[in-house]
Amino acid sequence: MPRVWKFGDSLNTDDILPGKYAPFMVGEGFYSYAFAHLRPDFASQFRPGDILVCGRNTGLGSSREYAPEALRKLGLKAIVAKSYARIFYRNLVNLGIVPFIAPTVVDALQDGDEVELVLKRGLLKRGGETLQLTPPPEFLLEALEEGSILAHYRKYQRFPGE
């Protein structure tokens, strides 16, 4: 059963992937250093389908796309947060990781909770309980429909809504 990895407010991209472990520095295996300082067990314990649950201003700091890319390589498909920093939010959509915003759901979830995410419908199931998540805006859904904005552009040679 997939689980919740819960983090607090102001999770920054240096937390997610410290600069010294950029693919540029260490090569293809960079994703194994995800959360190397903050939660050294993360990369070995994370299972595809697990979700991140975060507080406010998630992903602030450096524009390094390889931070969320490390998470995607580990199998992350979605994040539920109270709010996102601007560049990180764009990077998630570009990589096809769905950025849900749901402050009350974040408060209701605990680290280690076993959950099931119905991605398309924005439903999160925990035990017998179903939590509703607010999906991203139309513009971004159009891109996510193709997998990512990159995939959308490759197919149509234009941006969503253009």
Binding site: K20, V26, S63, I149, L150
Partner: protein, 423 residues
């Protein structure tokens, strides 16, 4: 576009309206042409990969600039391979490459006049807000967005709401634009300007702030989450650039928030671990022992910053046991600091000089911190583990406070230096 159609708009709205070719306002999504796509060495590999995935090449090669600055010169074989690939790729596609030693991307784009008033520059580095110093809409993005911008010549943006920040009056001696920027972040907090433009109005003497000081201000707006930080053109900017007549916000422009900082009343500020918006007065942390002092980065590595440092270090010595690293922001800064004697003053005081570039700012080389060490830095981020060991502490200050701390061996202001040294 008829300037009359731009009535009642903020600077961000005006620039994006011009780019979109129609009047656009905060909240709208626009797809707009970009003047420059800036790529840094550390993401160039991802950038090339994304272009390959798109089966695309740069649509306008002259609008793509790659700067080798984040680990320059190369620290290991992995980096050396990537940087060689950058040179080869640049030559193959006819894109500009600034190689090892030319300097930090943002400084170089300003010096090379690739970021100009009224322009739009997207960069693969969050501090691309720096271009706002010359009223150029600069914003940071990840590798995929940057690759899409290079492939299409366009990017998508949500037209941001604007926060008006008025800086008025003149700074007291020993206080700098860095202190004003940290005060702004203290007031806004780390997400206070998320998805928004910070529009900086300099009045009642503050117009005299230099281009470099404006770069420090615009640079740090991203630490409050800003999409861009635009300084309304005045003073030196009008002498250095041809500023289009429309490039001013209108009095009827609508702002989501307004705050004012009285520069004359400002005292030195410090950002304490582990978040940039943990801003206090330097007074509050005075006396904290220091292992390393780092002067440099896109925030504070300019000639005027080195001048402030030299003024404090003149006829003094860096305290025993303290490493003082000075890394000029560009080759031009290094050359000017050599020509005017600034470097000699720094060297005689016991500082060491590094290759123009980002230096140890993101903990990759040239001054990585050991566990438990304390660094006073003129850079822009003090996140946990940013410059090396996870528990090393980074205190962000102005160049003058960094220099005084190097001499005192503890966190100090220039004014209090004598007292601390002789205490």
């Amino acid at each position: 576009m008829n300037p009359g159609e731009l009535r009642g708009l903020t600077l961000a709205e005006k620039i994006l309206s011009f780019k979109a070719g129609r009047r656009v306002m905060a909240g709208e999504l626009v797809v707009v042409p970009v003047d420059q796509v800036m790529v840094v060495d550390s993401i160039a590999g991802s950038f090339f990969k994304r272009l390959d995935e798109l089966s695309a090449t740069p649509r306008y090669p002259e609008r793509v600039t790659i700067v080798i600055d984040h680990v320059a010169p190369a620290a290991n074989v992995e980096v050396a391979k990537e940087q060689r690939a950058i040179r080869q790729w640049g030559a193959r596609h006819g894109c500009r490459v600034f190689d090892v030693g030319r300097g930090i991307c943002h400084q170089v784009l300003i010096e090379e006049r690739l970021a100009l008033p009224g322009g739009l520059v997207v960069g693969s580095d969050s501090h691309s807000t720096t271009y706002g110093a010359v009223a150029c809409f600069g914003t940071g993005m990840g590798a995929t967005d940057i690759a899409l911008a290079a492939a299409s010549g366009r990017t998508w943006l949500r037209v941001p709401e604007s926060i008006k920040v008025t800086l008025k009056g003149s700074l007291a001696a020993g206080v700098s634009a860095k202190d004003a920027a940290l005060e702004m972040i203290r007031l806004l907090r780390a997400d206070g300007a998320s998805y928004r433009s910070v529009e900086l109005h300099l009045t009642d003497g503050a117009e005299s702030l230099s281009r470099g000081a404006r770069m420090t201000l615009a640079n740090l707006t991203v630490e409050a989450g800003a999409e861009c930080g635009l300084v309304v053109p005045s003073g030196e900017i009008l002498a250095l650039y041809e500023v289009p007549g429309w490039l001013y916000p209108d009095v009827e422009a609508v702002y989501s928030d307004h705050l004012e900082i009285d520069l004359a009343a400002l005292t030195p500020r410090v950002s304490v671990p582990f978040f940039v918006d943990n801003v206090e007065t330097v007074e509050a942390v005075m006396g904290k022992p220091v292992d390393q002092v780092f002067v440099g980065t896109c925030t504070n590595g300019r000639l005027e910053d080195l001048h402030e440092v030299a003024a404090v270090l003149k006829r003094k010595r860096v305290a025993p046991g303290v490493r003082m690293l000075v890394i000029p922001a560009s080759s031009q800064v290094l050359e000017e600091a050599t020509a005017d004697g600034t470097l000699l003053t720094l060297l005689q005081a016991g500082a060491t000089i590094g290759t123009p570039g980002c230096g140890p700012c993101m903990g990759r080389h040239q001054g990585v911190l050991a566990p438990g060490e304390v660094c006073v830095s003129t850079s822009n981020r003090n996140f946990r583990g940013r410059m090396g060991a996870a528990d090393a502490e980074i205190y962000l200050t102005s160049p003058a406070v960094a220099a005084a701390s190097a001499v005192a061996g503890v966190i100090a202001t220039p004014e209090r230096l004598e007292r601390v040294v002789h205490a």
